[in-house]
Subunit: 349 residues, 2 copies
């Protein structure tokens, strides 16, 4: 169902089997989204999905089940999942969208498989060279979009330009940022710092219509001073997982120290939400889905550990993307920069 | 003074002008190190250094001052610092070592300039293709060596192999790790994940004498499960600065929340060391110097914000490196892998 304009009644295919918790979390999350007026197609093992639905009050909600007999496991290789599990919930969900049964897909399953199915089944928007995963991370202020967080490695400068263009659309039309600032991740603030691809992409971004602010460093990501940070998927994936790991390590250490000291009573307070902002950053993985930008339809890759709220948020994000015609804006943004992305002029300032 | 064996009385040239605090912090740190039997040469503005020394009891200590009329500022470009500030404290310190007046250099000044001066003035150990900066980061358990954290970008597979070999020597002979495990930073645990350089380096590392454990991900760095993590300097620098930034953001948020709630009394407790391990990770930048491995002599690049303890630790690390003949072991380790580093066999398993 290629999106050709604003759609007021978005219909989202939800991979009911995905994530560490499967239907037990995904089904109630989808029901919550349906209560907000989003049409839902739950894709997965019909019996298990129905069993979860039966526990909830779904009267008057627009929820359909589409059966899929297979499940992609977290350790399946994406290529194998594509070839050997043609009736997996994620692949059936993507086909459903392709064939017009829904406007977008949300899955907390094996992210490599979701990316592969999205790319293979749905295909790219004409003009997109490489679809990219946009991580949305909470910071000290507003969230930051880190793009790409793992769909590509060894990105070329023109790919990095397109990542910036696609994230600009996401920030404006889904996150509601007025005039998003765009930085490129490098290892020094001054122009000329970085590796070969970054230095060339710097030139392209500077000549684009984006509000490009130049190089940003690793330490700038979480301050909230920049709206979009562009990077290769290798670097972005390392950065994303490092952040997650470090935040969890620090959280674990903090709890240990509270428990082991005479301050142990504080450990209890911690769990009662005295540290909301701290927890929000530490647990960001549970709050955000990563939109896979550049495909013909919306695909949101949710974190495997997503809880119910995180899943509902991902479904909301998919619906907002459909309602606000993200795809139309993506195509426009890319078309406006066609020449720049096609032939980077290496001699330009 | 090329190091040709174990030296029992190491003499360290300390850039007295380096870092955000200059002689006020560096001089007392050097005096502390001298009290432990390390010979010190303080390089910098003689008057200012002497004024700081006069405040301290230095009787019986082996401390010399060597005058340098210039200072590299934090925003000087490394190439400019090299060409235009030939009498800067960092360049004079490097020349002193080159000419036999000391065994190693420690500087908290402009790190790009320290790397450039080290490379240009001291030169590489024969066989080293690219010197690399080894970041030493505290984790939940033992420290991890992250190499390279910024001396190189666009590293080739054989450079990554050499980074691993050099870090192995550092871990064994300076950090006292018995049989260090080595991982390569990638975006998935399975062999075959990563970008082109990482996939080839995986093969080389597998065929080396190192205890290679395969790919590690960003989230594994701070768990302390691996002793050495090899990566390109672009990725390593992003990772290092991201960690620093995130840890500081979380720390700031935690303090804010404590202050703004009825739990404000806890803010005070925080500062009394109830959270030692947490603070240790958050403040790691202040505890470690990054050795620049692969040069003919020891160079330790300290963090610009280094406090007195951090500087003393860096001087101790330089002295330990000299005493334990790190250079001899580096040359041996590299020689033993000469064929592997020279001609990566792309067809090998």
């Amino acid at each position: 169902m290629p999106n050709t304009g604003e759609i007021q009644a978005p219909r989202i295919a939800v991979d009911a089997m995905g994530g560490d918790f499967g239907p037990r979390i995904v089904v109630p999350a989808a029901v919550d989204a349906a209560r907000e007026g989003i049409s839902i197609v739950l894709v997965g093992d019909e019996q298990r999905v129905k069993a979860e639905l039966d526990k909830l009050d779904t009267q008057g909600l627009d929820i359909e089940i589409v059966h899929a007999s297979q499940v992609v496991e977290m350790d399946d290789k994406p290529a194998d999942a594509l070839r050997r599990k043609k009736d997996s919930s994620i692949q059936v969900a993507c086909r459903l969208v392709k064939e017009g049964g829904a406007h977008g897909v949300v899955s907390a399953g094996n992210s490599g498989a979701s990316v592969a199915c999205g790319m293979f089944v749905l295909g790219r928007i004409p003009g997109v060279q490489r679809p990219a995963l946009a991580g949305i991370l909470p910071t000290e202020k507003n969230p930051v979009v880190l793009i790409d967080v793992g769909a590509n490695v060894d990105s070329k400068p023109q790919h990095l330009l397109q990542f910036g263009l696609m994230a600009d659309v996401l920030a404006r039309h889904v996150l509601g940022v007025q005039d998003p600032s765009v930085g490129i991740l490098s290892i020094g603030e001054e122009e000329g710092k970085g590796n070969a691809a970054v230095r060339e992409a710097f030139d392209l971004l500077k000549r684009s219509q984006l509000r490009f602010i130049g190089n940003v460093e690793g330490r700038d990501i979480f301050t909230g001073e920049v709206d979009i940070v562009v990077c290769d998927g290798f670097v972005g994936n390392v950065a994303l997982k490092l952040s997650e790991g470090l935040a969890r390590s620090l959280s674990r250490i903090l709890k240990d120290e509270l428990k082991s000291s005479w301050l142990s009573m504080l450990g209890t307070l911690l769990s009662f939400g005295a540290f909301k902002r701290f927890k929000k950053i530490v647990d960001y993985a549970e709050y955000g889905g990563a939109p896979l930008l550049g495909l013909r339809d919306i695909v949101i890759v949710a974190h495997g550990k997503s809880n119910e709220l995180a899943m509902t948020n991902c479904i909301r994000m998919a619906a907002t993307s459909v309602r606000n015609n993200v795809h139309g804006h993506l195509a426009e943004g890319l078309a406006a920069h066609k020449d720049l992305a096609a032939k980077p002029d290496r001699n330009a300032a």
